[in-house]
């Protein structure tokens, strides 16, 4: 009768769970240790003003209207005052592909939380600077 086979199934399952207790956990302490992000990670952008021509291709292709270009702002060279609205950005990568002049890139910086929504709109100054080396990670590497 199936009674003993069912009992065997129970013990098989208990064996699997019991073994798992002594295994190394999969998760890691995220803010204290981090893993390496791949080169292609679509994180926040970096804008290279030196090679930008203000052609506005990135503004046109953006499907969620997250990029704004202020042509009136004459403070910047070639008038490319780019505003990135990270409350809207979906990190699709179309703007980087649309850029013909190698002036816009993704960085592997994905943790960009702010206390204020306004701070997530990266102005022309902020979008061309990185506050830390993108490939240098806090804590020890994991995995």
């Amino acid at each position: 009768m199936g009674f003993f086979s069912v009992l065997g199934d129970f013990f098989q399952i208990l064996k699997h769970t019991f073994r798992q207790v002594f295994k190394r956990p999969f998760t890691y302490f995220y803010p204290f240790e981090d893993r390496e992000y791949p080169e292609r990670t679509r994180g926040r952008h970096i804008h290279v003003r030196k090679s930008c021509t203000a052609c506005a291709q990135c503004v046109r292709i953006c499907p969620v209207v997250a990029i704004r270009m202020d042509k009136e702002d004459k403070k910047y060279e070639k008038d490319c005052a780019l505003y990135f609205d990270y409350t809207r950005c979906v990190f699709c990568g179309l703007c980087v592909q649309a850029c013909k002049f190698e002036a816009l890139f993704h960085t592997p910086v994905v943790d960009m939380s702010e206390g204020d929504r306004e701070d997530l709109i990266y102005g022309p100054e902020k979008i061309e600077t990185l506050d830390r080396e993108p490939l240098k990670w806090r804590g020890r590497r994991f995995r």
Binding site: D9, Q12, H16, T17, P38, R40, T41, R42, C92, L94
Partner: protein, 378 residues
């Protein structure tokens, strides 16, 4: 149903704030422990994607589709791209075809891994919910290494794919597959071998082929009835490389009720689907041809499309996923795009499938059909 039974009936809203109802709500009428009426409600997730697609150009459109179902992002975006390619008559390079197929199966594997965990969480077994999700992390790592994003890959574009395989991404891909195949026997013990799982799913949510077809069900819920109904074989897409692989449509036949499927069969079917996906990828990896990944003329062609209609279909994780596209001459945007998600049928099927079953089985029936609200609300 006689009215005096309904006199002591209790109406219970299952959702939209219920913990296991994420974006859907079903009104159940309970008499004692039995559900006598089930009224699935849609619209809690509606983002008017079809209207949005009328305002997005053909390179942006795939991004909207991807967000219909984050779990099978590549499978979801592919019909749009295929429809655009059909109208614009864009040729796809051989290498892109193979890469698309690999990505498609990987996406299917990931979706099944996620569903697996979710279904077990719905069954109150969080151990088995977390274990497939660990494997899913490996799949996500493979996506990330290849495309730079974990969920919304936005990988295909009219004329090919966006990113090429690198050595490292191949390594991640193999790692994900190996990890999954390693753990499969253990998972089989935990699922099919579990007496409590069998007790919960046997003869629950039983329907036959004819009924399922009337509802419009497709994909694993139908293949679990034992019929080889798979668009990958039946309606092969010329821009995909399934003909390069030697594979069989995975079906599940239960001798206890031939031509019918219950929740247990559907779980078994998902096992078979995931194994087939693994097998297809493993066969395709050595066959990737050299060459460009994108047709260089495609970008220009996809900017303005000629007048036309196209109907692109793909066998998604949950069933037939299609997109019907109509364009006007020199159009930058779609004139009309109709998304047909597979889950509109499986969610509708609850209406006839659930009454008569116990209240506790409602979530089992729902989970075993694997509906995703993005597909019916769009």
């Amino acid at each position: 149903m006689s009215p005096d039974i309904l006199e002591d009936a209790m109406e219970l809203w299952f959702g939209p704030q219920h913990v296991s109802a994420h974006g859907w709500a079903t009104k159940l009428t309970l008499v004692g422990d039995y559900v006598v009426e089930c009224d699935p409600n849609a619209g809690y997730f509606h983002r008017s994607a079809e209207k949005v697609l009328e305002y997005k150009n053909f390179r942006q459109g795939a991004l909207i589709l991807e967000r219909m179902c984050m779990l099978e992002a590549f499978l979801a975006e592919y019909p749009y791209v295929a429809a655009v390619e059909k109208i614009a008559e864009i040729e796809v390079p051989e290498r892109a075809k193979v890469m698309r197929t690999i990505m498609m199966e990987m996406s299917r594997l990931h979706s099944i891994q996620f569903w697996w965990g979710q279904f077990n969480a719905e069954l109150g077994f969080f151990t088995m919910a977390l274990w497939p999700w660990v494997d899913r992390e490996y799949s996500l790592d493979a996506f990330e290494e290849l495309t730079g994003s974990r969920h919304t890959v936005s990988y295909s574009t009219p004329g090919g794919v966006k990113y090429d395989f690198t050595e490292k991404s191949m390594k991640q891909l193999n790692r994900a597959l190996d990890r999954f195949e390693d753990r499969l026997p253990k998972f089989r013990d935990m699922q099919m071998g579990s007496p409590t799982f069998r007790a919960r799913t046997e003869n629950i949510g039983l329907y036959d082929v004819k009924q399922g077809l009337k509802w419009g069900l497709s994909g694993p819920p139908m293949k679990a009835c034992g019929i080889p109904m798979d668009l990958r074989k039946d309606d092969p897409d010329p821009n995909l490389a399934y003909d390069m692989v030697d594979w069989e449509v995975p079906i599940t036949e239960n001798p206890e009720h031939p031509g019918q499927s219950d929740a247990l069969d559907r779980m078994e079917q998902r096992f078979a689907e995931a194994e087939t996906a693994c097998e297809i990828i493993k066969q395709l990896i050595p066959q990737i041809p050299e060459g460009p990944i994108i047709d260089p003329k495609a970008r220009g062609k996809a900017n303005r499309l000629p007048e036309g209609e196209a109907y692109a279909r793909v066998e998604g994780t949950r069933g037939i996923t299609t997109l019907w596209l109509k364009t006007q001459d020199k159009a930058q945007t779609a004139y009309r795009a109709k998304i047909r998600g597979p889950c509109i049928a499986s969610y509708y099927a609850l209406k006839d499938l659930v009454p008569g079953s116990k209240f506790a089985d409602f979530i089992v029936i729902f989970g075993s059909l694997d509906p995703y609200p993005g597909w019916w609300d769009r």
